[in-house]
Symmetry: C3
C-alpha cells in the first residue's frame, strides 16, 4: 500500500487495541507500540495484520507482522514471531483496528478545508473556471485546466497538461499527465464497503486511493471509488465513456476502452488492451485477461482468459453466444 | 397520503371541476365545495376520488368520497353517497383534477425561493460548504453537514446527524436521522409520469414525497423520484451504492443493500433485508419479498416471494440459473 | 451538416493537407485552396471528402468534391473531377484533415468564455438561479428559466418557454421550444470517438451538434453527446427519464418514451412513437423502426422493423421471449 493520503494516528499501544477487540491476553507488554495495520505481505515488525482465509496460508507463514488478527483454526500457520489475536470475525475486527489508525478514511463528509482557487497559490499557475474549490494537500502540475464548480478536495495530485471539466468532485486521487476528466464525475470517494451487523451497517475505512495513469480520459457522470486496503487503478491510455462506475480496488490495465454505463464491481482486475461494450457489468473479485473483448450488455460472472471474446449473461464465448441466439 | 409538502389550492367548486372534465350533470348544487382529491381508501366526505379498475371493487364499495371519477361499467360498485362522474379515461381526468388542487406538483422548475445558507438562520446551526442554497419550508436538525454547491430546495426536513455531500439537489423530501447522502444526487423530483395524448404528453402532478428513514446511505449520482399519489420510501438502515435510480412510489424495506447502477421502476415494493447486485433492474408494480437476494445484472419481471435467491433475465431461482448456464 | 457551431479554419491549401497526410502528389497546383471537409453527399467543388467502404459506391460516383481521401481499391469509383488521395487508413487520415479545419471540435476543455448570467444581457429577459454561467454565442428565447449552477457554455440556442434545471452543462446544442431539461445533465459534449493507434488514442473532431426538438423532456443525470459529422437529434415531444446516455449521431424520432438508465450507442436511428423500457441498451449503427416497443433490460443488437415488440438479450419478438421464459 503506497501513496496513502491518510494520516496514520498510530503508534497505538497493544493495550488499546486489545481493549477495542475485547481480547484478554496475558504475558504481553501492554505498552508495546503498534505502528500500523497492513496486509500479510506488506506488514513489518511492530505492525498488526490480519489473516481470514486459508487461501492466504503461504503469505501468513512469511508475514513479518508482530500481531495478527485471525481465527483459532488459522492460527497455526503463523510464524512464532507473530502473536495471534483470536476473534470471531476477522474482517470486522480488522475494520475496527484500521479505524483506530485511520479514522479519517471512514466517512466522507464534505471537505471543509477547501478555498476558492483564486485565493490559493494556484491562481497564477493554472487556468480555472468560476467557483473552483481546492482543498489541503493538493499539488497541480503545469499547464492544467480546471472547470467551473469543480471541487478538488484534499489529497489530490495532478500531473502536467491535465484537463479537468466542470462540476467534478475529486479527492484522495493521484492523477498523472495528460489526463482528461470530463464533467460531473465523483472520483476518490470511499467504496460501498461495510459489514451489516445487528441491523446496523459498520463501515470499514478505505485507506486506498485512486490512481489514474498518463493519457487517460474519464467520461461525464462517472464514479470511481478509492480502494479499501489497496488502490483503484486506471491504466495508461485507458478511455472511459460516460456514466461508468468503477468500484473500490478495481485495477484496469493500459490501452483499454470502456463504453458507456459499464459497471465493474469491487476488486476485479482487468487486463491490458481490453474492450468492454456499453452497459456490460463485471462481478467482483474477477480476473479479466489481456486483449479480452466483452460485448455490450454482457454480465461477466467468471474469470476470462487472455485473448478471448465473450458476450451474454452470463458471458460466454461470443461465437457460442451468437450461435445460440441466431 | 401524509406529509404532503404541497399546497392544496382547494376548496374548488364542483362546477369548476365539471367544467374542466367537460361533464354536464344536472341536479347538483353547483357551488358545492370540494376540499381535496385522494384515492378511494383515504378520501372523505366533500372530497373527490377516482376508480379505474375492477381490481379496486372492494375499496370502491366502501369509499367515503362524495364524488368519484369513473367509467360507466364501474359506476355500479360505488355507494349511493358517492356521485359518479363518468369519463372516457379515468386516469387522465383524475390528473386534470389533481392538477387543479396541486398545480405546484406538476412541473419541477428550479426553486426561486432559495437563499445562500450563510444568509439564513441555519448559518450558526449547521456546518455547510461554499455556495450552499436553502429554500423555503426547510427544517434541519442538530449536527448536520451540507457540502459545497448543494441545493436544499423547498420542502425538505432533515433530522439530526445527517451528512449531505456536495452538488446534491434535494426537494420535497423527509430525511430522518444519521442519514448520509454522498454527492451529485437528485432527490425528490417528480417521477417519469405522464399520459401521451394526441402527440402531446400530459404530465400528472406528483404529490407524494421521498422519505429516507434513519441510518440510510445514498451513493453518488443516484436519483430518487418522489411519489405520484403515495410516497417513495427508503427503509431504515438501507444502503444504496452509486448511480442508482429509484422511481416514483417505490418502497424499500429496512436493512437492504443495493449495489451500483441498479434501477427500480415505479411503484415496486421491496421487502426487508433484501440484497440486490449491481446493474439489476426491477420492473414496475412488483412485490419483492423479505430476505430476497437478486444477483447482479438480473432483470426482475415477476413478483419474488420471501427468502428467495434469484438471478438472470428474466430472473429465476439462482440454482436453476447456474445449472442452465454451466 | 447544418447548424454547425464550429469555426471553420479554412481555406487551407492542398499543399498543407498533403503534407499532413504524408502524400507526395505531382501535377497539382499546390496553392489551391480547400474550403471545407464534408461527407461524399454534401461536399462541393473545392472541398475535400472521404470514401472508405464500398457500401458508399453510389455516393462516391456522384460526389462533387474536388479531393477525396480513399484507398487504391476504391479509387476507381470516383468521378474524374475528383482527385484521389490514397492513404492507408481513410478514417484516421480524414480525422487529421477534419482537425485542421475544425481544431475547436477536438477536445472539450471547460469554456473560458462564460460570464455570470447577471452580468449579461439576459439578466432582464430570463429567470435564472444563483451562479448561472453563460458563454459566447448563446441565444435564449422568451420566458425561459435556468436553474442554479447551470452552465450554458458557448454555442447554445434556446427557444421559448424552456425550463432548464440546476447543475446542467450544455454546449453546442440547439434546443427548440417548450423543452424541459431537469438537473445534472451534460449535453453537447464530444462523443466517445477516437482511433487507438500505437498505444495512443487519436481523437477525431466532433463537428455535429445536439438538436432537441419542441416539447421534449430530458431527465436528471442524463448525457447526450453531440455528433461527429452529423447531428444527434431528439425528436419532438420525446421524453427521456433519468440517467440515460445518448451517444453521438443518434437520432430519435418524435413522440418516443425512454425509461431510466437506457443507453443508445453511437449512430443508431430510432423511429417515431417508440417505447423503450428501463435499462435497455441499443448497440451502435442500428435502425429501430416506428412504433417499436422494447422491453426493459433488453439488449438490442440487430435492426428492428416497424410495429414490433421485442424483449430479451439479445432482443427478440416479445411473445417468443415470454414463451421461452415461462
Amino acid at each position: 500500500m503506497s501513496n496513502s493520503f491518510f494520516k496514520n494516528y498510530g503508534p497505538i499501544s497493544i493495550y488499546e487495541i486489545l481493549k477495542k477487540l475485547g481480547i484478554d491476553l496475558k504475558n504481553l507488554k501492554m505498552n508495546q507500540k503498534i505502528l500500523d495495520v497492513k496486509d500479510l505481505q506488506n506488514s513489518n515488525k511492530n505492525e498488526i495484520t490480519f489473516f481470514h482465509s486459508k487461501k492466504y496460508n503461504d503469505l501468513a507463514r512469511n508475514t513479518k507482522a508482530s500481531f495478527c488478527i485471525t481465527t483459532k483454526n488459522l492460527k497455526k500457520e503463523l510464524p512464532k514471531t507473530c502473536v495471534s489475536l483470536i476473534v470471531e470475525n476477522v474482517l470486522v475486527s480488522t475494520s475496527k483496528v484500521t479505524s483506530m489508525f485511520y479514522p479519517d478514511a471512514l466517512y466522507d463528509d464534505f471537505d471543509e478545508t477547501v478555498s476558492s482557487a483564486n485565493q490559493t497559490n494556484f491562481k497564477d499557475k493554472i487556468k480555472f473556471g468560476k467557483n473552483v474549490l481546492i482543498g489541503k494537500n493538493v499539488s497541480i502540475g503545469s499547464n492544467c485546466k480546471i472547470g467551473h464548480n469543480t471541487i478538488i478536495e484534499k489529497n489530490v495530485t495532478l500531473g502536467d497538461n491535465c484537463s479537468i471539466g466542470s462540476n467534478n468532485i475529486i479527492r484522495n486521487t493521484l492523477i498523472k499527465n495528460n489526463v482528461r476528466i470530463l464533467d460531473n464525475c465523483v472520483i476518490g470517494k470511499h467504496g460501498f464497503g461495510f459489514f451489516p451487523i445487528k441491523k446496523q451497517n459498520l463501515r470499514y475505512p478505505h485507506i486506498g486511493i485512486v490512481i489514474i495513469e498518463d493519457n487517460c480520459e474519464i467520461g461525464c457522470g462517472s464514479t470511481i471509488d478509492r480502494g479499501s486496503m489497496s488502490n483503484t487503478v486506471i491504466g495508461r491510455n485507458t478511455y472511459l465513456d460516460n456514466q461508468i462506475h468503477i468500484a473500490h480496488n478495481v485495477k484496469i490495465g493500459e490501452n483499454s476502452i470502456i463504453a458507456g454505463q459499464v459497471g465493474i464491481a469491487g476488486s476485479s482486475v482487468i487486463g491490458k488492451n481490453v474492450k468492454i461494450g456499453g452497459q456490460a457489468g463485471i462481478s467482483g473479485h474477477l480476473k479479466i485477461g489481456n486483449n479480452v473483448e466483452i460485448g455490450g450488455g454482457s454480465g461477466v460472472i467468471r474469470d476470462i482468459p487472455d485473448n478471448t471474446k465473450v458476450m451474454g449473461y452470463p458471458a460466454k464465448n461470443i461465437r457460442e453466444f451468437l450461435r445460440d441466439n441466431k
